[in-house]
Amino acid sequence: MAVITIDGTRLEVPDNKNVLDCALENGIYIPHLCHHKDLSPLGSCRMCVVEVEGQEGVTTSCTLKAKDGLVIKTKTPEVDRLRMLALELLLTGHPAECTGCPKYGNCELQMMIQYIGPKTGRLKMRTKGFKAVEENPLILHDMNRCVLCGRCVRACNELRGVKVLQYQKKDMETYVGTLHGKLLKDADCRFCGACAEVCPTGTIRDKIIDSEVKREDAVVPCRHACPAHTDIPRYIRHVKNGEYDEAAAVIREKVPFPKALGYICTHVCELDCKRKEVSEAMSIRDIKRYAADHDTGSVWKGKGKQLADTGKKVCVVGGGPAGLTAAYYLRKQGHDVTLKEALPTVGGMMAYGIPSYRLPREIIADEAKVIEEQGVKIEVNTKVEKPAELLNEYDAVLMTIGGHAGVRLPMEGNDYEGVILNADFLRNASMGKETGMGKRIIVLGGGNVAFDCARTAKRLGAEEIHLACLEAREVMTADDEEIEQAKEEGIFVHPAQTFERITGDGKVTGVDFMNVKSFTFDENRRAIIEKEEGSEHHIDGDTVIFAVGQRPDITEDAGLTLGRGNSITVKDMNADKATSVDGIFAAGDAIYGTKSVIMAIESGREAAIQMDKYLGGDGDISEVLAPVQELNPYIGECPGFGYLEKKHTQVDAPESRSNNFELFDHGICDSDICAEAGRCLQCDLRLQIARPTTWGDFSENKEA
């Protein structure tokens, strides 16, 4: 330890620590620009100069090492003079106009100007004349604003080891860039964003800035996009390192069905994955699947929390993902939880909606077993008609009944023999019951459920299958993958169709369609459909399956207020899941309509939090299951990184898969998984980088 004195304040600091950080950490502000806490000292900007007692002249405090007895003055006339001169010089090559700069208000240089107040108008000003480089994905370079603090160069070289950004010189103007002005992708940039993170000015900036969300959410968009906020970069890194048990534990910190999600999650995270700007988005779901498939449970088993029994009793009605999740976490909070399921097994839509060729039933059983082992009592084949009566026995009730009633469109022929609803069809197929379908099937609808129906029909032996929907191909809500695979299996897909009528005479003979010319929404979000004149046409069929949405299978008789689409009304979709009856809560598809498993899980978690609080708990269901991950910021060089292509899963050929219900997508293979996980940009590493210390931080402290 060394005792140093800065402006009369005695500080005890580690030997040889740089004086600038000593001062900043002890509440003494010294202006600085090229210095960054996580980077080696450079001493080039001269903002941080100080005087040392007994030494002539000034010295940069960022390169000055603390030694016992050092006496430092940060504000002397000479220091002020030289700082002003340095800043005056620095600004001669920087645009004078601040207000047009995207960094306005967050610019460290701007704050430096306000603090130091340099002279103006004396020196020769210039525009460097560099063209802004906007061709790169994610990162924008505007070297005219650069003051050559060199932080980005050090971040790229020392901190990350990627070595893409270097000082370059053109004519007599020094600038930062890639060798020979290559695009970042061609220079093997890894798009970690450290350069943009440390840039004090508006020179290197993120192209995508979502100022609506919190900084860490904008920086790591996948984690934010996931409804349950699974820590995606963290588990991808574990998978890359072959640590599948750790990866599964990370996933389990947020969701109790890692494996099911690995097979069928709608992966909205991938839509926001920054990697997609560089080449293709990460296969987040398939990486999760690999981790879950290879998990032995050695890390998470026996680790989660189980609070002491509270004596409170909870009944969860409906054993789908929302109900199972809520039951699991409520049990962990110490409540006595009973789950009542109307069907013979739990799983909800995972078991009775999603076909088994996408999600094998053993997976649901295995994951539900974990919940049962936690102490949740499961009663199957138990349909609850009057939830309010449960309150006689239970302190709280949660309605997670999902949406098991299909929607029948109001159109001619909708009640003919041969018309089937999606939910009934899929449920019957799942249970091995007679579905009532014929040989020539017409599925009406363009979502994932419609494709589940069409492909299930194929597997049940239908001879000809047509799928028609209102939306144009590009805006169909089903996953592209789903659509393409269906076509491969011989299913005819007809986008942009209006359903005119179901033909027949009490028995379906087909459907009349017209082509859609345009399909838009007006300002009141009402659909406006323009049909193509003379485009009437007919498709023959003996079966029509409506796949145009589902709603909760409940009536007013249950005693709960219902809203749009027969959904159970709650006080607030997110913040308050209480229904019209005190003590009864609702969550999942039952309150917001058919969405996804991951949404249902999040809804179940949120319901568990609110109900735990209602029952007197603290509502904290968070768990730490995975060990702390040591992050290595030095990601190093990786030739061709930007061009690395997505690794695809192994999928059985259409002819061998389309006549049976066996799983046909076998995930990413062992030899590809590490490479796929290695494509991750590791956006979260950026959050480790220290935020700038500005004058404002200090003046606020003083006022407080």
Binding site: S44, R46, A86, L90, T92, Y167
Partner: protein, 399 residues
């Protein structure tokens, strides 16, 4: 036995002791005992946890590079000197830095460097990246090799007015190596001197740290000369440090304004303020020394600056772009004599074609005017006649 063999007969410590006893000094801008310099690098490497090394180079500030001759004359000797220093420090990493554009020299010394295990790096020295290395002047390395071959004689390398470099004994008077008659100023190393002050100095006293001794006469403009030197420094600077990058730019811009008749009185004070701050505001000699030329110019030759910014006059008749040298297309016979004498290589032409002067590079020295047998080359401050803008056969140019 060779110098390095001699050194290796001794222990490391004995080598350092011998260097200290011989009183060998670091050549160039960093005047200090070589033994201290080696020891300081060892200490620095320990403190910073860096690899020990030896780097030989010119001073970063040296834009004339005449001392490279010492390397070119005997590459093996310089490599030997590097190896002795490395042996004394216990270092394995050795490199020699050669100016980026000088691939010729790099090729010429490659064999010797490879043989000695010295890496060739084509740039000025990055002081920060070479922490833990002793940075030696190329001449220091040569001297060290001489010392261990018992051939060392102290002396100063001097190139007078662009003549080949010669080694002069330390006590040689400047006036004995250079003809100072008719001199207005003398550029010695990085500073100007008046002829009166430098005449009595020895070469050792005159700080001829880069080997350059240039006598300026009445026809040389101090301002223009300074502008060229500062521009050369700007070209050479790596541009990482504020004072070197931006300071040099300001110094150059002010000199340029002066030569263009746009100078202001303020410039004198600003030059002084920036120039003096540069001395201690950068880590290497590039920034520390490159302002000296401007500082000594305004200090010693203030009146020339005053003439430039107050009266818009260049006492040497060099400045102001209003003065142009051109070739009269009617008189030129295309003999090519002017091309041969032009020191700036800025005359274009071929036999029987009208020659043309590139005004941008022309420094109006007037050598071509004297040479032209047809008196076809004219210096004027007035309006130019119409001139050809591409090569035109003699006699074909029409007004």
């Amino acid at each position: 036995m060779s110098a390095i063999e001699n050194a290796k007969q001794m222990s490391k410590e004995e080598v350092v002791e011998k260097i200290a006893a011989l009183d060998l000094m670091e050549y160039g801008l960093c005047h200090e005992k070589l033994s201290d310099r080696l020891n300081a690098a060892v200490t620095e490497a320990q403190e910073e946890g860096k690899e020990l090394g030896v780097v030989a180079a010119l001073n970063n500030a040296d834009t004339d590079k005449v001392l490279l001759e010492v390397l070119k004359a005997d590459p093996a000797k310089v490599m030997e000197g590097i190896a002795i220093a490395a042996y004394a420090m216990g270092a394995e990493k050795m490199s020699i830095q050669i100016p980026e554009e000088d691939t010729k020299t790099a090729e010429a010394v490659k064999e010797a460097a490879d043989a000695a295990g010295v890496e060739i790096v084509m740039s000025i020295v990055d002081i920060r990246a070479n922490k833990g290395s002793a940075i030696l002047h190329i001449v220091t390395a040569a001297n060290l090799a001489d010392a261990f071959a018992d051939k060392y004689e102290a002396g100063v390398y001097v190139s007078v007015n662009g003549e080949p470099v010669k080694k002069a004994a330390c006590d040689t008077k400047v006036s004995d190596v250079a003809d100072l008659s008719g001199a207005k100023a003398v550029l010695a190393g990085y500073n100007y001197y008046t002829p009166e002050t430098i005449a009595d100095m020895t070469v050792a006293e005159a700080n001829i740290d880069n080997g350059v001794l240039k006598v300026l006469g009445e026809k040389d403009c101090i301002v223009s000369e300074t502008e060229k030197k500062v521009t050369a420094s700007r070209r050479q600077s790596c541009g990482k440090c504020v004072f070197c990058r931006e300071g040099l730019l300001q110094l150059q811009a002010m000199q340029k304004d002066m030569t263009d008749g746009k100078g202001k009185e303020d410039y004198m004070a600003i030059t002084k303020e920036i120039g003096e701050a540069m001395r201690f505001s950068t880590p290497c000699t590039m920034g520390q020394t490159s302002s000296e030329i401007a500082l000594s110019a305004i200090d010693l030759f203030e009146s020339e600056y005053v003439a430039h910014y107050k009266k818009k006059e260049c006492p040497a008749g060099v400045c102001f772009s209003s003065e142009t040298v051109y070739i009269d297309p009617k008189l030129c016979t295309g003999c090519g004599d002017c091309m041969d004498v032009c020191p700036k290589d800025c005359i274009e032409g071929k036999a029987k074609f009208i020659h043309m002067i590139d005004d941008f590079d022309c420094d109006r020295c007037g050598k071509c005017i004297e040479e032209c047998p047809e008196n076809a080359i004219i210096k004027t401050s007035g309006k130019l006649p119409k001139l050809p803008n591409r090569l035109t056969k003699v006699g074909r140019f029409k007004r």
